[in-house]
């Protein structure tokens, strides 16, 4: 038996195993934990909240792709179900906690039931077939969501009010704390932050449990896992359901943050691609990769454009030809793309994998 060390229990014995990685993770954790105080203003806290949500979304996808070896394209569907669960409940009932609770539970049930059905029908056959099925189901769901105007608000989506306590007008204290007024927006941020933290640690526990090792065994050699007496279909189905449930909760958190849910913010295929990129950049099968992948990606998405604009202006002011045009703010997507190609090329095992290799 190992000593009862609280950090060991929290991280489930799965340490970063690289000093640079540990330091980076610690910085990210501190920045996220104190984001409202460190970076005042609505844009930074918006980015921080998005990072928290995507860490969970990407971690849940890593559970499938990185740990179990299942390729799914339906992850945004489960994310969307969470978003729409909150949206529909808030919009149609009332902006109360109980309505939200109903929305969350209904979304979780729907997600996990769908994941189970898709899994039982297609996980027993070849991996590519499962990927195709998820793609088809997710597309159908996205179309359904944009067509069912009455329920989902169609292409326009739904804007709604959330419980009083989480609205910007709400004040927890009369006086500012550390120079920041603790309003409903900041409370919402901490709801998201702590939910994300708990979910992440829970995922870390699952992948380091006896169950989690079976998932890895299935990823490595499903044939042999079956021969050892593990019912591969059952394990894959459970992993699929857990992952779907976690993605749903990420969708719930995003819906609470945005106070809006529409096809573009939840179900679009672009988000699916983003998730894939974040997993690959961070490092598959590490979970910590989800933290790094989501943080880097979302920071780049939000600040690369600004940085490039400033660089372009500076270059233009210095009178250098051509370069200002190349670094013009409108070209940010090009550079984002180049960054991804380079990162996948130089870190095929992801940033976390690379950092761990450097250490050993």
């Amino acid at each position: 038996m190992l000593p009862a060390n609280p950090l060991h229990s929290l991280l489930s014995g799965d340490y970063p195993r690289s000093r640079v990685l540990a330091a980076t993770l610690f910085i990210i954790l501190v920045c996220l934990a104190f984001a409202p105080f460190l970076f005042p203003g609505s844009q930074p806290i918006n980015v921080a909240a998005k990072i928290c949500v995507f860490v969970i979304l990407v971690a849940s996808y890593d559970l499938l792709l990185g740990y179990t070896g299942i390729v799914s394209f339906a992850h945004t569907m489960f994310y969307g179900i969470g978003g729409y669960g909150v949206a529909i409940a808030m919009y149609n009932f009332s902006p109360t906690w109980s309505a939200m609770g109903i929305g969350v539970v209904a979304a979780l049930i729907l997600s996990m039931a769908l994941a189970l059905v898709i899994g039982l029908f297609s996980l027993r056959v070849r991996a590519i077939f499962f990927a195709m099925i998820t793609l088809a189901v997710a597309s159908a769901f996205a179309i359904l969501a944009s067509q069912l105007n009455e329920i989902t608000g169609g292409e326009d989506g739904r804007s709604y009010r959330i419980p009083e306590m989480l609205r910007p007008g709400f004040r927890l204290f009369d006086e500012p704390v550390l120079g920041v007024m603790i309003n409903g927006r900041i409370l919402t941020y901490y709801l998201i932050f702590f939910s994300a933290l708990i979910l992440f640690l829970l995922a870390l526990r699952v992948v380091n449990s006896p169950f989690g090792r079976v998932l890895q065994a299935i990823r490595e050699n499903d044939f042999r896992a079956e021969a050892l007496g593990y019912r591969v279909l059952v394990y894959r189905s459970i992993a699929n359901c857990l992952s779907a449930g976690m993605a749903t909760l990420a969708g719930v958190l995003m819906a609470i943050w945005l106070r809006y849910t529409g096809p573009d913010t939840t179900l679009s295929f672009a988000i699916m691609i983003d998730i894939l990129l974040m997993v690959v950049i961070g490092g598959m099968g590490t979970l910590y990769g989800a933290v790094l992948g989501a943080t880097i990606f979302i920071l780049a998405q939000n600040y690369l454009q600004v940085l490039m604009g400033e660089l372009s202006d500076a270059l233009a002011a210095a009178g250098i030809p051509l370069l200002p045009a190349l670094f013009h703010a409108d070209r940010w997507l090009l550079w984002l793309g180049i960054l991804f190609v380079l990162s996948v090329y130089f870190f095929p095992v992801g940033i976390v994998g690379k950092l761990r290799q450097l250490r050993s």
């Binding site: 038996m1 190992l2 229990s9 489930s12 014995g13 526990r205 699952v206 380091n208 449990s209 006896p210 169950f211 989690g212 090792r213 079976v214 890895q216 065994a217 490595e220 050699n221 044939f223 042999r224 896992a225 079956e226 021969a227 050892l228 007496g229 593990y230 019912r231 591969v232 394990y235």
Partner: protein
């Protein structure tokens, strides 16, 4: 001999298109015996094993384990009922450590795979068990190496450790010593000998090396083109013309 064999196949057959790979093989295997299955390459030995352990579905015929029909069960269900299989081509979890490989087998035996919130490292009992198995195949010093990075001979030993970890009633070894260096072979043969010496286990062994077969087997069955062509005491079977021709490639005239 006990009334119920540990394992029995009845008219077990599989066809791939027009080719009959295993043709109506009926055979019973009793506890405390070690049966060697021999035959030339392509005779259907491994296919016969795959049918017994459930990797392939039989076209017709039955597999009985402890007298119960298991023909319709999956490989994992058969393993749960006491069948254990080591594979001919090394079939491990390459990106997990040696220790994790064995531990997964131990864990399957202990039925602990469904624990989601317990720490993997907190099951000290399972780890100790895995370590003692690694010691028995002389791999303990490599417990933290990735299984995929092991030399071939060590992978074969790990394969055997995985089978031992399952503690089956019926052990199926598919050429356990193939590709091993000469000094590694005795370790594995000694383990097989120990299993046999316990008296309550049933061992099936596919093996090409005739000296190994002679030293371990109580009985030899010969497969040729998917058909059972000989069955009996090692000395008798090896001496029989059909084996001399089919297996050793010597024509009866030359042998005589």
């Amino acid at each position: 001999m006990p009334a119920t064999p540990a394992l029995e196949t009845r008219e077990l057959t599989i066809r791939f298109g027009g080719h009959v790979a295993v043709n109506a093989v009926s055979c019973a295997f009793h506890p405390g015996t070690l049966t060697a299955i021999v035959g030339p390459n392509g005779a259907g030995k491994t296919t016969y094993f795959n049918l017994i352990s459930g990797q392939l579905k039989a076209t017709s015929g039955q597999v009985l384990l402890h007298g119960q029909d298991v023909t319709g069960l999956t490989a994992s269900a058969r393993t749960k009922r006491g069948m254990g299989r080591a594979f001919q081509l090394t079939n491990l979890f390459p990106n997990l450590t040696v220790m994790e490989n064995v531990r997964l087998a131990v864990q399957s035996r202990a039925g602990a795979g469904m624990q989601l919130l317990q720490l993997w490292s907190h099951r000290g009992d399972l780890i100790d068990k895995a370590d003692s198995l690694l010691a028995s195949v002389k791999l303990l010093d490599k417990r933290n190496a990735m299984a995929g990075a092991l030399p071939h001979g060590d992978q074969r030993k790990l394969e055997v450790a995985l089978l031992l970890a399952l503690e089956p009633d019926v052990f199926m070894f598919d050429e356990p010593t193939a590709g091993m260096s000469v000094d590694e072979v005795p370790t594995v043969l000694e383990l097989i000998h120990q299993i046999k010496a316990r008296g309550d286990k049933t061992v099936l062994l596919v093996e090409h090396k005739m000296d190994v077969v002679r030293s371990l087997a109580d009985r030899i069955i010969v497969l040729h083109n998917g058909t059972l062509v000989a069955d009996g005491e090692p000395a008798t079977v090896i001496a029989s013309p059909i084996v001399q021709e089919a297996y050793l490639g010597i024509s009866p005239e030359a042998a005589a």
